[in-house]
């Protein structure tokens, strides 16, 4: 396994007096797809939000490329090459598709043509609709836009919060194919999902989170074959 690009140690996060993350540690190896699976309220989103800088963790360290980035503001995190595709996509409905992509590259001052072409190659649908307002896209297209927007910052690590939520199975498959494709092109992926089956099939490394703690870890196949995981998350 390659070196960890992201190392989380003893991370604790409080949300309005409730301890959402109770001291978790895990590594994200560079160039891999890593997934955190778990039920609603297990603390998965809180973990990603702390890494992205939206929430200040109470304790712990988040090491990225050897530097502790814990508690830094979101701008500093994006600058370093970590981006988050938020839950519910959260594209800007009044901005056009093209503007949504451009705003993903907000901190960059260089030429965006190559990256726009790259995103349009990954999602030809977005190119067709580049002048449409983001809010007029379908759910699946909005998810493509949210991923494309995140890629425009040229991230080293892309984090995705429930990318399959509320999408039809066929579209979910398309999204996961894209995740693999992005990863092949050298971007490390940290994915959280309730759709454990899809996530574990896609991921190289998986962690299971329960009520703020990591209870199991292994490769995607190992976890897929694990009886506890099967019973709790795969329903088989």
């Amino acid at each position: 396994m390659s070196d960890a690009i992201l190392k989380i140690k003893d991370l604790k996060v409080n949300y309005g007096g409730i301890e959402a993350v109770k001291g978790i540690s895990f590594d994200v190896p560079a160039g891999e797809i890593v997934t955190l699976i778990g039920a609603n309220g297990a603390g998965k989103s809180s973990t990603l939000r702390s890494i992205a800088g939206l929430v200040k963790p109470r304790e712990g360290t988040i090491e990225f490329d050897g530097e502790d980035i814990c508690g830094k503001d979101p701008t500093a995190i994006v600058t370093r090459g970590i981006t988050l595709v938020p839950e519910g996509r959260r594209i800007f409905p009044d901005l056009t598709v093209l503007e949504n992509l451009r705003i993903g590259a907000y901190l960059r001052h260089d030429d965006l043509t190559d990256d726009l072409n790259w995103v349009y190659e990954l999602f030809p649908r977005l190119k067709e609709r580049s002048w449409q307002a983001g809010g007029t896209l379908s759910g699946g297209e909005q998810q493509m836009l949210a991923v494309g927007r995140a890629l425009m910052s040229r991230p080293k690590v892309i984090m995705m919060d429930e990318p399959s939520l509320g999408l039809a199975p066929l579209i979910v498959k398309g999204i996961f194919d894209i995740i693999k494709e992005i990863n092949k092109q050298g971007v490390t992926v940290l994915l959280i999902e309730q759709n454990a089956n899809m996530a574990l099939k896609t991921a190289n490394v998986g962690y299971v989170m329960e009520t703020g703690r990591i209870t199991m870890s292994g490769t995607g196949e190992e976890l897929l074959a694990n009886d506890d995981v099967k019973a709790a998350y795969l329903g088989t």
């Binding site: 992205a52 800088g53 939206l54 503001d73 979101p74 701008t75 994006v78 600058t79 981006t83 988050l84 938020p86 519910g88 959260r90 800007f92 409905p93 009044d94 901005l95 503007e99 451009r102 705003i103 993903g104 907000y106 901190l107 809010g135 007029t136 927007r149 910052s153």
Partner: protein
């Protein structure tokens, strides 16, 4: 028809001019609301302070220094107000921020009362825009003609800035979604400060034009134009810049037509009745955004 025009033309001209002045203030209300969902009650008083700064600046400095100074001081005031009174309340309920805004409004009025000693301060005569000019046989001040032109010019520049620049795009994004904007790397506090700066710049320009038509500035001079501009912003659909501008022109023209008809006493009442009617009949105003967004 020509009889009507002869009788009412001066009032229509004044109305367009006053409307332009309201518009310059109303944009500040509507932009701040668009981004912070805050009715910035201190905005009218910032406008009054701009008037006072002009009075004091011209007392010791030439016009070509005073005017830029008024603009810089007003912009600075708006920036400081946001940083001191609103930014610490970013995650507080909206009501708290609004109360803070009312507090700032009274603070500015009372500071003005202290500095002026409660005496009306004579507003300086600004050369050129105070000059008399004759239009269609009616004599009026140059400012009456300059205001609508300048207002529209500034609105066009502002619209282009919001539509085509990176900062404008960031403003549109922040006004929709703070958190996702942060995820893009946008520093929302800078964008909010920038919004206040634009709003106060326009209010400063508005004050130069507005007070030229009046003899003096008193600590409550900002209250009435501020309220009128606020009604204009609500009428046009708060959050919408074209809405605020159109609302301001309609209110300015209607008020002056009412004055021209001899009902001066009711001209202010008209504006506030309009506010009530709008809130009852169409609370989102002419161009108000619909409450529902596709998620």
């Amino acid at each position: 028809m020509s009889g009507f025009l002869n009788a009412y033309l001066p009032h229509i001209l004044t109305g367009i001019s006053v409307g332009g002045q309201y518009a310059l203030i109303a944009i500040g209300y509507t932009m701040v609301y668009g981004i912070l969902r805050l009715i910035n009650f201190a905005h009218g008083d910032v406008f009054m302070v701009a008037g006072l700064v002009m009075v004091y600046a011209t007392a010791s400095m030439p016009m070509y220094i005073s005017i830029p100074l008024v603009i810089i001081a007003t912009v600075l005031l708006g920036f400081v107000i946001e940083r001191v009174a609103y930014k610490p309340l970013r995650s507080a309920p909206r009501m708290s921020v609004m109360i803070s805004a009312i507090g700032v409004s009274y603070l500015l009025q009372n500071c003005a009362l202290y500095f002026t000693g409660g005496l009306p301060q004579t507003y300086p005569v600004i050369p050129f825009i105070s000059d008399s000019v004759t239009v269609f046989g009616q004599t009026t001040k140059m400012v009456t003609l300059i205001t609508p032109v300048l207002t529209l010019l500034l609105v066009v520049i502002l619209s282009l800035l919001i539509k085509y620049t990176k900062m404008g795009m960031a403003m549109r994004a922040v006004s929709k979604d703070f958190e996702t904007s942060q995820l893009m790397g946008i520093k929302i506090n800078s964008v909010i400060s920038f919004t206040f700066i634009i709003g106060c710049f326009l209010a400063a320009v508005g004050s130069l034009l507005y007070f030229t038509n009046y003899q003096s500035v008193i600590p409550t001079s900002g209250a009435m134009p501020g309220l009128k501009a606020f009604v204009a912003a609500v009428f046009g659909g708060i959050g919408s810049i074209p809405g605020a501008v159109i609302g301001a022109f309609i209110i300015g023209i209607c008020e002056n037509l009412i004055k021209g008809a001899g009902w001066t006493t009711f001209s202010d009442a008209f504006t506030f009745v309009l506010l009530i009617v709008i809130l009852l009949a169409k609370p989102t105003g002419i161009f108000g955004e619909k409450a529902t967004d596709k998620v």
